[in-house]
Amino acid sequence: MRIKEIEASIEGILFAAGEAVSLNALCEALEIDKITLKSIMKRLMDYYQFERRGIQIIEIEDAYQLCTRPEYYKYIKKLTRPKPSQYLSGAALETLAIIAYNQPVTRSNIEQIRGVNSDGSLNKLIERGLVEEKGRLDAPGKPILFGTTQSFLRCFGFKSIEDLPDIDNNQHNDQLKIQEKV
């Protein structure tokens, strides 16, 4: 198969799948090795980028997905019935940040950090598909552990959790300040 044909097949596959397709699955379907596929994916993603097409390929945890480019949001928005507002409150966003950086966490972990009961925000985030259960902590009461979802990565444009920007510096500073205060 020529590269162009492989590229077109990838495009067709990602379109038909409508969800993220793993690198492995693509390799298997196209009968090519990972390294070759990765370089073709790179080429294809660059092409979309360079041509500023209406759609793009994003990479999420060694999987690829087709989606629209944000540049054309305003036109897309005009065409689809708007759903009820999906605004995330400040509380929800804080809760999300805590979960993202500390996952997996329990309800009480979150409450401890935010200093306030966060069940409402947590439920909202679960409902929105940004946060999900990730098993239970082996401790009395077996509290549920929460973590972010693949949808969270997609929404914020991260490839993986490791991709989250470093905030440890600030945190250390804060702790330093606290210690100074004490």
């Binding site: 067709g12 379109f15 038909a16 409508g18 944000p70 949001y73 897309i76 928005k77 689809t80 708007p82 759903k83 507002s85 999906q86 605004y87 995330l88 400040g90 966003l93 804080e94 999300l96 940040a97 805590i98 993202a100 950086y101 950090i113 935010r114 200093g115 929105r128 009395p140 009461g141 929404c155 914020f156 444009g157 991260f158 989250l164 920007p165 905030i167 600030n170 945190q171 804060d174 702790q175 300040k177 606290i178 210690q179 205060k181 004490v182």
Partner: protein, 244 residues
């Protein structure tokens, strides 16, 4: 005609069967030898019945009209009758032609269907369009960090100092829930029935209270002990489940 030994094709109706016979005998559709076709048609019906294939009323009605046409064609024509009498086969021929047309088109459709079956469509997405402020995708990573930092800052203001900052002054006291469970069970060994408050007698340390309470809940959950009240708002009593 020989008895039919081959597998009968499933006919979509009497017209389908007639078309089959016409093709098989290489007959000119505009000049159907009615006697021959009628005979073959009836033979097919017989065979279908023998093989328990469904012979719907339409097949029988067609048999009747074939016989009617046959009989009509056997009648001598009146030479003196000037007006051209319509060929008794005309109506049948028209029907067959009309049917043939759609049978052909159904084959064209099938080809197209096979081709376009290889096309995939994407399911319509449910799209989120929060109106104001813009969608969550527009929430930048900076927003996320800001939110996290605001928590950290607030905590530094509101919450007691970070535990780590006390490490040098006070050793962190470890309280084991398991230990508390044993203590409660020891109490229940001495007395058959205790009040919940008795569990917390002489316990002032916060972690200790929490651990004891967790131990009570744990034991209730594990159905080792049983808690009850004789009246609402009254004392809560605890007994061993086996003593209940």
């Amino acid at each position: 005609m020989n008895k039919l030994s081959f597998k009968l094709p499933a006919f979509e109706g009497p017209l389908d069967l007639l078309m089959h016979l016409i093709q098989k005998n290489k007959i000119n559709i505009y000049d159907i030898p009615i006697a021959k076709i009628t005979q073959q048609y009836l033979l097919y019906l017989e065979n279908m019945q023998e093989m328990d294939l469904e012979v719907s009323s339409e097949f029988l009605m067609m048999a009747a009209s074939l016989l009617y046409i046959k009989s009509k064609m056997l009648l001598p024509k009146h030479q003196d009758e000037e007006d051209e009498e319509e060929d008794p086969r005309q109506e049948l021929v028209n029907k067959l032609l009309e049917y043939k047309k759609y049978k052909q088109m159904s084959k064209v459709l099938l080809q197209r269907h096979d081709h376009y079956q290889h096309v995939f469509f994407k399911e319509p997405q449910t799209l989120d369009f929060p109106d104001d402020p813009p969608q969550i995708i527009a929430l930048s990573v900076e927003d996320l960090i800001k939110a996290f930092n605001s928590v950290l800052i607030r905590r530094s203001r509101l919450a007691p100092p970070h535990k780590a900052s006390f490490d040098e002054i006070v050793r962190y006291k470890r309280v084991s829930v398991e230990q508390k469970r044993v203590e409660i069970m020891l109490l229940l060994k001495r007395k058959r029935e205790i009040t919940l408050m008795e569990v917390f007698v002489d316990t002032y340390d916060r972690p200790e209270i929490v651990a004891k309470f967790l131990a009570v809940l744990d034991l209730i959950k594990a159905d080792v002990i049983y808690a009850f009240q004789s009246e609402s708002d009254g004392e809560i009593y605890i007994v061993r489940s086996s003593e209940r």
